[in-house]
């Protein structure tokens, strides 16, 4: 990339190179975009990433399988539970472990609350980027409730590590389901409030309709995924197409739009909020009874009570903590529908207690490649709308 401020293109027109980010409020983290502009129009856009690269994939290779779970929270920090879920499912697939029904339903419930949490942050910040300040306050009001639910089950608001290999960390506390039920009954009304502020708002419509268009062919070729792909008219949702952790038991619609623009992505995500709360309702209504951890003493840590009273449990506990558990050699790729699209974990095991290779396929990393195509030919102000519409999380891109 040319570093000088002014370059001459082939046609002889003068274009300007403008640096946007990494410390720009609308880039949602440390994303740096190098824009080549002709007046106000974007001619070319190149993303520069790596400012948050922490080498998590390398760190995983030095940890026991169970020690990787807290690392996964920190990748896509807006949906920590989805990261936990993807990693746990991948390791469970390697181990051939069966998860009890209650743990599966709790995973669905928490995963959908995570999706709502993530979409609320997206909606609030996206609207604020486009000048609608109030929506942000409304969204964070509901997000606060969800973070309290996370705190109730795991003790943490964001870096939950609630899903463990073989089930859940703990039983949900007493009164948890009642509180979630109250929230789920109220939430569709809250979505109506957001929509009242935005969906018919003429300023919002002017900033989003027909902006940053991405055709279905381009979206597939450039690897876009999740709501970005569905808003280009491609009907794909891994929860429905390749169900995991019991999603086959739930009824939900997959919102698809062929608008291909920023507004279509907004509509898809807002519809997903409504579908997700429907799944939460179904999970609450049908929550099975039973244990929340698999019966696999060599993999799952024993209860504290048993550990303090039974010799055998104490030995298992000691062995898991000090030497981990070995996982049969092999490889798996587990894909999960995260709020941003296909989140995939590719894990290679060599039969020891530490993963030989862990690779995270981040949905934001995939969507970022489509950003250049979306923005070319539009105005600088539309770049802000486009970034918001693909919902980037830089922790997920740089890992």
């Amino acid at each position: 990339m040319a570093q000088g401020p002014v370059t001459i293109t082939e046609s002889g027109d003068r274009t300007l190179v403008l640096n946007m980010g990494p410390q720009h409020p609308s880039t949602h983290g440390v994303l740096r975009l190098i824009l080549e502009i002709d007046g106000e129009t974007v001619v070319r856009l190149k993303p520069e990433i790596g400012y948050l690269h922490t080498g998590i994939e390398k760190t995983c290779e030095a940890k026991f399988y169970q020690q990787v779970v807290p690392l996964t929270d920190r990748i896509d920090y807006l949906c920590p539970l989805t990261n936990n879920l993807t990693y746990c499912l991948a390791v469970e697939k390697l181990l051939g472990l069966e998860i009890p029904p209650k743990a599966q339903w709790m995973r669905v419930l928490m995963n959908e609350l995570t999706r709502i949490n993530s979409h609320l942050v997206w909606l609030g910040t996206h609207a604020m980027d486009l000048g609608a300040m109030t929506v942000f306050l409304y969204c964070f009001r509901e997000r606060e409730d969800i973070l309290r639910f996370f705190e109730m089950v795991s003790g943490q608001r964001m870096m939950t590590s609630y899903f463990r290999i073989g089930g859940l960390a703990l039983e949900p506390p007493l009164g948890f389901f009642d509180k979630v039920k109250k929230f789920a009954d109220r939430f569709p009304g809250n979505v109506d409030e957001y929509e009242a502020l935005l969906t018919g708002n003429p300023i919002f419509l002017m900033r989003t309709k027909g902006v940053a268009k991405l055709s279905a062919e381009d979206a597939i070729a450039l690897g876009a995924c999740g709501p970005t792909l569905r808003a280009s008219g491609v009907d794909i949702d891994l929860r429905r197409d390749s169900p995991y952790t019991g999603y086959e038991n739930f009824n939900f619609k997959v919102p698809v739009s062929d608008g291909c623009d920023v507004f279509a992505r907004y509509v898809c995500r807002v519809q997903e909020l409504r579908e997700s709360i429907g799944i939460v309702q179904q999970a609450l209504a049908g929550m099975p009874e039973g244990p929340v951890k698999a019966d696999a003493p060599k993999v799952v840590l024993p209860d504290r009570e048993k550990m303090k009273t039974q010799m055998e449990s104490l030995i298992y506990h000691f062995k898991i903590i000090t030497e981990g558990f070995s996982v049969p050699a092999g490889e798996v790729y587990q894909a999960v529908e995260s709020p941003r699209g296909e989140m995939g974990y590719y894990i290679v095991s060599d039969g020891t207690a530490k993963p030989y290779r862990v690779h995270m396929r981040g949905p934001s990393y995939a969507n970022l490649q489509a950003l250049a195509k979306m923005c070319e030919g539009y105005l600088i102000a539309d770049v802000v709308a486009a970034i918001g519409s693909i919902d980037v999380v830089l922790g997920d891109i740089d890992r």
Partner: protein
């Protein structure tokens, strides 16, 4: 289809996942055939990464995860590369989305992709020495 058969070095079906080993010379050709297949077009590159089997040879395995959006099927392709000449043809001409993935593998493993339009480091600074995800690169970095 003839070239496809001669390019396949092996296959396995393990834990409901299909893996096919492909000769490194024909990776781009095989990818193009799979993408354009009429019965089950693997039109989406879900992931591209690499595994380092140091010190054994062939050292690197480049791993491609393909998804067929119409048929909802997945397949994993693998190509083995020697450590001394770790280079393979780029698949950016088949799926433009391979661009960033191949840059990442180049950056972190030092595998070169011939025919890539912009093969530069993506995560690490341009003047970084070494390739961090190689197994002979210490976890704590060079001190």
């Amino acid at each position: 289809m003839h070239s496809f058969a001669s390019a396949v070095q092996g296959a396995k079906f393990d834990r409901d996942e299909l893996t096919i080993w492909v000769a490194k010379e024909s990776i781009r050709e095989v990818c193009a055939i799979l993408r354009d297949d009429t019965g089950c077009p693997f039109n989406y590159l879900a992931d591209l990464t690499c595994v380092d089997w140091y010190p054994s040879e062939p050292r690197f395995e480049v791993v491609y995860h393909l998804l067929s959006i119409p048929k909802k099927e997945r397949v994993r392709l693998k190509a083995r590369l020697d450590g001394s000449s770790a280079a393979i043809e780029s698949v950016t001409s088949v799926w433009p989305s391979a661009n960033h993935y191949e840059r990442e593998v180049f950056d972190l493993f030092g595998v070169r992709f011939t025919g890539h339009p912009n093969l530069k480091r993506i995560m690490m600074p341009d003047d970084w020495e070494g390739h961090p995800l190689r197994k002979d690169y210490p976890v704590e970095g060079y001190r």
